[in-house]
């Protein structure tokens, strides 16, 4: 009798324990799924916002390239064309978008178009000088407010005073849509232009170039220095206090917050050494110091992985120490070092805070061509656009994030490829 009770209790206890076991396993599983779900949600929320930025809205405009109005002749030079009265041509074209417009309506019409359309009209003429005295139908860029409305990012159901476009403008847009005079096309400005105050003509070309130049500086500085430092620490350094200090220093430097490196750049590079502000040169130097520990750690690991017999063989046939190291050990450690360098560069590409400190947040409307010119960088550009109040910049920032993620993905894929392709198991 007593025996069965005990047995039942044991069975119940075992059931409880195995239920506990199962529950614990599910907790872990749920936690893992949660982490992955957040990743998917993050990517989704960026992609769903960003992909519309790759299209822009254009409106068909009939332009009369009238010789009299432009104050040009068929044999005007390019310089004269630059000074032609294209704004007058634009004004006439805007007045004729719809028939029988009142003066006040014309003012609203103007706000449907980008401020850049003077240039578009001019550039078309520069490319086709033969259109003088003809009427041309041109697709010109619409204002960001129109663009956002048509993409559905701005709602038209809110009261008029809280909308960027008033009722008259909305009715114009509807009419244009009905007459098929408004369309979406590929947004080439996004890839060819630098930053702008106007979302519809702002692009990432300037900041992208800035990022490339910065990464170039980072690579030039950090790669040789990291190899030198790791070779010294692995092959030459005596085991003493000083070497230990350097090693501790490197591992601690890896954990210093990036913003502190920005303060270093501001306090030392800009204020003491007088580097030019806002340039890829100083940004790259700061980021190089920041990525140095990453590359040194990777390089030392791959130097360690080269078997000592190779160095000893070189030494045995009479090579000096530096010959043995630089001709035999370092080339074998190079793939691992390169992998580490690419990962370090990827880190540097996404870094924002130190660049803000050294003034790379300035508004730069042109594309930089050298490392001593003021420029933006891709993550800082995203920051500026996120902070901006204009609604049109939000999709731009999401699209710029898509570009930066694409590059990070490619760099990491390259690193993995290099590791798999060249890594030797001794």
């Amino acid at each position: 009798m007593n025996n069965t009770v005990t047995q039942e209790r044991i069975i119940a206890l075992r059931k409880k324990r195995s239920a506990q076991d199962l529950r614990f396993k599910y907790y872990g599983f749920i936690a893992m799924c949660l982490a992955l779900a957040v990743l998917v949600f993050l990517l989704y929320s960026i992609f769903s916002r960003g992909f519309t930025a790759f299209q822009k809205t254009t409106i068909l405009l009939e332009i009369n390239y009238d010789q009299e109005v432009l104050k040009l002749t068929p044999d005007s030079t390019e310089k004269e064309i630059e000074k032609g009265k294209f704004f007058k041509v634009k004004k006439n074209a805007l007045n004729n978008v719809f028939e029988n417009l009142s003066k006040s309506d014309a003012k609203f019409i103007k706000k449907l178009f980008s401020t850049n359309i003077d240039n578009e009209i001019k550039n078309y003429f520069l490319n086709n000088p033969s259109v003088l005295n003809t009427k041309q139908k041109l697709w010109v860029t619409a204002h960001s407010n129109v663009d956002q409305m048509l993409k559905g990012n701005a709602s038209r159901d809110v009261p008029e005073d809280r909308r960027k476009l008033n009722d008259i403008q909305l009715s114009f847009i509807d009419q244009l849509v009905q007459e098929n005079r408004i369309q979406k096309e590929f947004n080439n400005f996004f890839f060819t232009r630098a930053d702008s105050r106007h979302p519809e003509i702002a692009g990432i070309a300037g900041s992208f170039m800035g990022s490339l130049l910065t990464l170039f500086v980072v690579f030039i500085l950090s790669f040789p220095i990291a190899i030198g430092a790791s070779v010294y620490l692995e092959e030459f350094a005596p085991k003493n206090k000083l070497t230990e200090l350097i090693e501790v220093n490197i591992s601690n430097l890896a954990a210093v917050p990036s913003i502190v490196f920005g303060l270093l750049g501001l306090g030392v590079l800009l204020n003491v050494f007088g580097f030019p502000r806002s340039t890829p040169l100083v940004g790259g130097t700061v980021l190089a110091l920041m990525t140095l520990p990453t590359i040194i750690i990777a390089c030392r690991a791959s130097l360690k992985a080269v078997p000592p017999s190779i160095k000893e063989g070189a030494l045995a046939i009479g090579a000096t120490k530096s010959q043995a190291v630089f001709h035999h050990v370092v080339p074998l450690a190079l793939p691992g070092t390169l992998t580490g360098t690419i990962i370090g560069l990827a880190q540097a590409l996404g870094e924002t805070a130190p660049l803000i400190m050294i003034g790379m947040v300035a508004f730069i409307p042109n594309i930089p061509t050298g490392i001593t010119e003021p420029s933006a960088s891709l993550p800082v550009q995203i920051f500026l656009w996120v902070e901006s109040a204009e609604r049109g910049f939000q999709e731009k920032s999401a699209a710029a994030i898509m570009i930066i993620l694409l590059f990070l993905f490619m760099m990491n894929a390259l690193a993995v490829y290099l590791r798999n392709r060249f890594e030797k198991k001794w």
Partner: protein
């Protein structure tokens, strides 16, 4: 100047190499003896004596040229009585006029004079730069060539030079640390000469607005950093509440339960989470999470700020999940298999083994991982700059708007920087606090993890 000096230096080192080589060859030919080192070592010796002085001249020019010219210009500038001048603006104006004559329209005569002086100084400097770099390269090569003879062991000398270069490379890391400490302490010192250190550390009022003009109707700025530290702490706590359970449970699942296949797919995916730039998390927090938190707060009757601590903290938590999970994963994996087998052998099931045996054994390592994650969270900038507020509130309510150390550093430096103004300098004092805290957390964590590793080795 950059391009031509590179060309000049390249020509210089090439000719010095040839020069050295021909010199030792001639010596060998005339004496008919075997040299102690090979020809190319002698040539390299001459080359290094040509290159190093040239580089020193180049860099000292790059660093000091502009400053010397600026001082000369300002010294000889004809100040007009009664007009107020700002040195920085004045110099910028002079430089603009000097670089582009189009800007000279409408500028005063003093500025145009100064601009032409600037131009001529710049030209003089450039010419003297080229002359001195050529002279120094020739002198260096001549010195080295004089030392070359049959008995000279050039190879050993080159080896020694290589070693010096390598030592220099590895000292860069130390120099960086010294630079960080130097700049932080120096500027903080200037800050604390204007603001008392006790006010900074213990006062609860942070209004860093200093009147720009004298007599302007604005309160004196006050620099009590307590609300900033509290805000940082609050956001860190929210982040750890997200990251600690998710990260640790994920690590346990991956190391104890998951099959090899799941591990191989999930680990790289989590690494993606670690590789995403922080500005992307900032965007996510600002655009997606913050509105969600606000509407969630409204639905339970709390008025949430659009830049609440909760939104920034949640997203920061997501960011540090991979740190915790991968570090804890390592730690759990290094618990000896014998402990697991012993526990399973006496009849404990897997969950009991993990909870009663593995986690206690791995506890120091897990604490180390958490400390590293906390140090990450405290030093994180972009998420909070975008998604947290800038006003210093002393509150424990995560739905309210708080600010952090990193946000205040960015806010103080993002506009005009004036290095005699405590508002700008406060960034360095905050940076010093941040540096000290993250460094000590890091050292502590590494020590704990190291001790833990040694125990099981």
């Amino acid at each position: 100047m950059f391009f031509w000096s590179i060309v000049l230096i390249l020509i210089g080192i090439y000719s010095s190499y040839i020069f050295g080589q021909s010199r030792i060859k001639k010596l060998v030919y005339s004496t008919n003896l075997k040299p102690k080192s090979q020809y190319n070592y002698h040539a390299q010796y001459v080359l290094s004596w040509c290159l190093l002085p040239a580089l020193i001249v180049y860099f000292s020019w790059a660093v000091f040229e502009e400053q010397i010219i600026q001082n000369l210009i300002l010294d000889s500038f004809e100040y007009v009585e009664g007009a107020a001048y700002d040195d920085g603006l004045l110099l910028a104006e002079i430089r603009n006029v000097a670089n582009n004559t189009d800007f000279s329209e409408g500028k005063s005569q003093e500025i145009i004079n100064a601009a032409s002086q600037y131009k001529s100084l710049k030209l003089t400097s450039e010419i003297s730069f080229y002359i001195s770099i050529i002279i120094i390269m020739v002198l260096g090569s001549l010195y080295a060539v004089r030392k070359i003879n049959i008995q000279f062991n050039a190879q050993d000398t080159i080896e020694k030079y290589i070693k010096y270069i390598l030592i220099f490379c590895s000292s860069i890391a130390v120099l960086t640390t010294i630079g960080i400490i130097f700049s932080l302490i120096f500027e903080s010192f200037r800050f604390f000469s204007q603001v008392s250190i006790f006010e900074f550390l213990f006062s609860t009022e942070w209004y860093p607005f200093i009147p720009i003009r004298e007599g302007q109707a604005a309160a004196e700025g006050s620099f009590g950093a307590v609300p900033i530290f509290a805000g940082t702490f609050l956001i860190m706590i929210v982040a750890m509440c997200v990251a600690a359970p998710i990260g640790l449970l994920t690590a346990i699942y991956l190391s104890e339960y998951a099959s090899q296949k799941v591990r191989k797919t999930v680990k790289p995916l989590l690494e993606i989470l670690a590789g995403i730039p922080t500005i992307v998390y900032g965007f996510f927090a600002f655009v997606t999470v913050a509105p969600f938190v606000k509407s969630f707060g409204q639905s339970i009757g709390i008025d949430a700020s659009p830049t609440s601590a909760l939104a920034a903290g949640l997203v920061m938590g997501v960011m540090i999940i991979p740190f915790i999970s991968s570090l804890s994963d390592d730690v759990i994996n290094s618990v000896p298999q014998s402990l697991r087998e012993g526990s399973l052998g006496i009849g404990a099931n897997k969950a009991e083994t993990i909870k009663k045996v593995i986690l206690p054994a791995a506890l120091p390592g897990i604490v180390g991982a958490f400390l590293l994650a906390i140090s990450r969270a405290i030093g994180e900038t972009m998420i909070v700059v975008v998604a947290a507020g800038t006003a210093a509130n002393l509150t424990a309510n995560p739905f309210e708007n708080v600010t952090t150390v990193t946000v205040q550093i960015v806010v103080a430096l993002i506009g005009d920087q004036e290095f005699d103004n405590p508002r700008t300098l406060s960034a360095f004092a905050l940076g010093l606090v941040l540096f000290v805290i993250t460094l000590s957390l890091n050292v502590l964590a590494l020590r704990i993890v190291k001790k833990y590793r040694e125990r099981y080795e």
